[in-house]
């Protein structure tokens, strides 16, 4: 089969086998990764849950990771990151997308997703995953659509018949806004408890909540994903108790980045296209776009690495970490890199 495939590749050079197979059926591709939607469920008014069957190259994911999903909207490919919500031990892929009123992709999927739709997919990525062997005690905390990676962990643990203590503490505006509520209820076991908090009639996270839900939280490993209003207080509390080491987090809302546009200096040169602009102090992705270029990108917040390009010279600041990168020919993420003085990008 391997020999036949390479003979076919040689015969179909320069385009390769996938470019022919996809004309017959977009899911026949061998190298490219795609997913065909097999089921669509709209559990709340502003979310859509898709079940996908990935194409042959799919290698499976680990609970807590995310995939890049690509969809054509008006001729343009758009890519966003989503965390599968299903167990890693199941074939197929379940994704829950919340339609953000400003979100091009999420709104599109919410209105147009239907069985049979073929979407672009990436291999999974991300390090927000459970360790092996599984910890004896686990606290999973999430808020809103931050439930997705954590739910996947929970379902994976349930599938494994995990017998340690697990508490899942989840916050939503109200009972109606809890995604996958039925599945959560079905997962409950004596050692696996689900605790829901409604922010409409109370506060967000507090130490009380944590103590009530998991009195042994300080001896557990904790996994956290949700909006900033949840992440910040949890982080503070864990830091105050000296437990930061035990808290593992995944950001799904972009951290707010600040840009100093007033004191920006230097010229930005996009070597491939020969365009050159005055550094505006904004991320390079935006500067490239203002210069009329269309570099590939996905999340625009530094998590998906689809905007990675080679910086041939100059220094940039990573707006997330504050780190200065000044080596020649190093790869940088355009969406979170701000030039410091003259830079040249191979784009």
């Amino acid at each position: 089969m391997g020999k036949l495939a390479s003979l076919a590749e040689a015969l179909l050079t320069p385009h390769g086998m996938d470019r022919y197979l996809e004309l017959v059926d977009p899911m026949l591709v061998r190298r490219d990764l795609r997913g065909v939607v097999t089921a669509v469920r709209r559990q709340t008014t502003d979310t859509v849950t898709l079940t996908l069957r990935p194409s042959r190259a799919w290698r499976g994911f680990t609970a807590g990771q995310y995939v890049r999903l690509t969809v054509d909207i008006d001729g343009v490919r758009r890519t966003r990151c989503y965390s599968p919500t299903g167990s890693q031990h199941h074939d197929g892929l379940e994704l829950t997308v919340k339609a953000d009123p400003q979100g091009l992709v999420s709104r599109h999927l919410h209105t147009h997703a239907r069985p049979g739709l073929v979407l672009g997919l990436s291999q999974p990525d991300g390090t927000f995953t459970l360790p092996h062997p599984r910890p004896e005690r686990l606290v999973l905390i999430s808020g809103g659509s931050g439930i997705t990676p954590v739910l996947s962990m929970l379902r994976t643990l349930a599938d494994e018949g995990h017998d340690g203590e697990v508490v899942f503490l989840h916050y939503a505006n109200s009972a109606d806004d809890v995604l996958h509520r039925d599945e959560l209820a079905a997962l409950e076991r004596p050692n696996l408890r689900v605790v829901l908090g409604y922010t409409d009639d109370g506060e967000y996270f507090s130490l009380e909540h944590l103590k009530t839900a998991a009195p042994w939280y300080d001896t557990a490993e904790s996994y956290l994903c949700g909006p900033k209003q949840l992440m910040d207080p949890v982080r503070e509390l864990y830091a105050a108790e000296g437990l930061s080491e035990r808290l593992h987090t995944e950001e799904f809302t972009p951290p707010e980045l600040t840009f100093d546009t007033g004191s920006a200096t230097g010229q930005v040169r996009f070597a491939h296209s020969g365009r050159e602009v005055e550094n505006s102090g904004r991320p390079l992705l935006e500067q490239a776009e203002t210069a009329g270029l269309r570099p590939e990108h996905g999340c625009r917040m530094g998590i998906c690495f689809s905007c990675t390009q080679v910086k041939t010279r100059g220094t940039v600041r990573n707006a997330k970490s504050g780190e200065l990168l000044s080596e020649e020919n190093e790869e940088i993420q355009l969406c979170i890199s701000v030039p410091v003085g003259d830079v040249e990008i191979n784009c």
Binding site: A10, L11, P14, R19, G75, G274, R294
Partner: protein, 368 residues
């Protein structure tokens, strides 16, 4: 004497540039699913024809049909798809299969080398003598401003040979062989470029002249000949379209001095004066990769080529308004004009002969 910069008044050239920019903006704002559907359809047709062509090689009576399908496939691949995709016309879709940086065409010239010699060198320095290496491809005398040498007596012969092996000519173009001969570039400088050529050529030759023929067993010689004929047909066609786009009579060339510190408007102007269109029907335009709209292509090389016919009338009207030539004509007329030039320029210049064909702006302005 009218130089490029004196052709229009500063106010005119600025206004002219603005009008061109406006066309561009309008088209870019309108790009969308219909452009993607179009190119996907062309791709589907091309891939279908290729598969059909390869399959028909197994039925000897269908040999002419097999060759035709394969030749059309190669022409579509190189022209309406490859040339245009590699110009970045579909980069805005962010589809990796339509990305100028990733696309590779069914041609021995590696995409990467071609993007340098064509997209960068030719499209930036269009028709500037000594800078635009497409003028004569380093082998021909195609512009009177190129100094005559007895070598050029063979001009028509070289051109004919080039037409037959055009894809190899395009491949070797990026070696800048003439510059190596003149000592401006060393053989070692070309190591990278050569490596890419060898790898690409080996793959192309491997499939067309080894693998596919072998796969047809006893029919191998026939398949071999069929593939060669398809490649040849594509070469002749591509050569004709490309030569008609730049070398008919009245296309102008420029000196480095007249193009110094060009404004945007002057850049547009140079593209118009340095290109020529070919008239024809819809199918003809598709088969030529819309390079039959060479003028529009040179103005807006990164706009999807299917848009050129839509804006051609407008570009032409603007040219008329400013008294600029808009060089166009049917294929046979443009071809004849190119051939005539190739023969004429093979001979040493005589004052009378050169003045018959004032091809640079240094000469007297022609009636518009």
């Amino acid at each position: 004497m009218t130089g490029l910069q004196d052709r229009l008044t500063p106010a005119q050239i600025e206004e002219f540039g603005r009008e061109m920019d406006a066309i561009r903006r309008r088209i870019v704002a309108d790009l969308g699913a219909q452009d993607v559907d179009y190119i996907q359809n062309v791709i589907k047709t091309q891939r279908g024809l290729e598969v059909a062509g390869r399959a028909l090689m197994y039925f000897p009576p269908a040999w002419p049909a097999a060759v035709t399908a394969l030749a059309v496939s190669k022409i579509l691949d190189n022209m309406e798809i490859g040339h245009n995709v590699m110009h970045g016309q579909y980069d805005w879709t962010r589809d990796p299969a339509l990305s100028s940086q990733k696309f590779e065409w069914d041609n021995v010239a590696p995409a990467e080398n071609w993007r340098h010699s064509h997209n960068y060198v030719h499209h930036t320095y269009t028709n500037i003598l000594d800078k635009d290496r497409d003028i004569g491809y380093g082998i021909l005398r195609i512009d009177p401003a190129q100094k005559w040498h007895p070598y050029y007596l063979g001009n028509p012969v070289y051109a004919t040979l080039l037409a037959f092996i055009f894809q190899w000519g395009v491949m070797l173009h990026d070696l800048e062989f003439d510059r190596i001969v003149r000592g401006e570039r060393t053989w070692a400088d070309t190591k990278d470029v050569r490596g890419k050529m060898l790898r690409k050529a080996a793959r192309q030759v491997g499939k067309d002249y080894v693998l596919f023929p072998l796969l047809t067993g006893p029919l191998a010689p026939l398949t071999f000949a069929g593939n060669a004929t398809a490649n040849l047909a594509r070469n002749l066609w591509a050569f004709s379209i490309i030569f008609c786009g730049h070398f008919p009579a009245d296309v102008e060339s420029f000196t480095e001095e007249e193009t110094e510190n060009e404004s945007r408007g002057q850049w547009y102007l140079r593209q118009i004066l340095g290109s020529a269109n070919i008239t024809g029907g819809k199918l003809f335009h598709i088969m030529s990769g819309n390079l039959s709209h060479q003028i529009e292509h040179h103005l807006f090389p990164d706009i999807p080529a299917r848009r050129y016919p839509q804006i051609a009338a407008e570009v032409r009207a603007i040219c008329e308004k400013y008294g600029l030539p808009y060089n166009t004509g049917p294929l046979h007329k443009q071809l004849f004009s190119v051939a005539k030039k190739l023969v004429k320029l093979a001979l040493p210049p005589t004052p009378q002969r050169e003045s018959e064909e004032p091809s640079t702006l240094g000469a007297e302005p022609k009636a518009a």
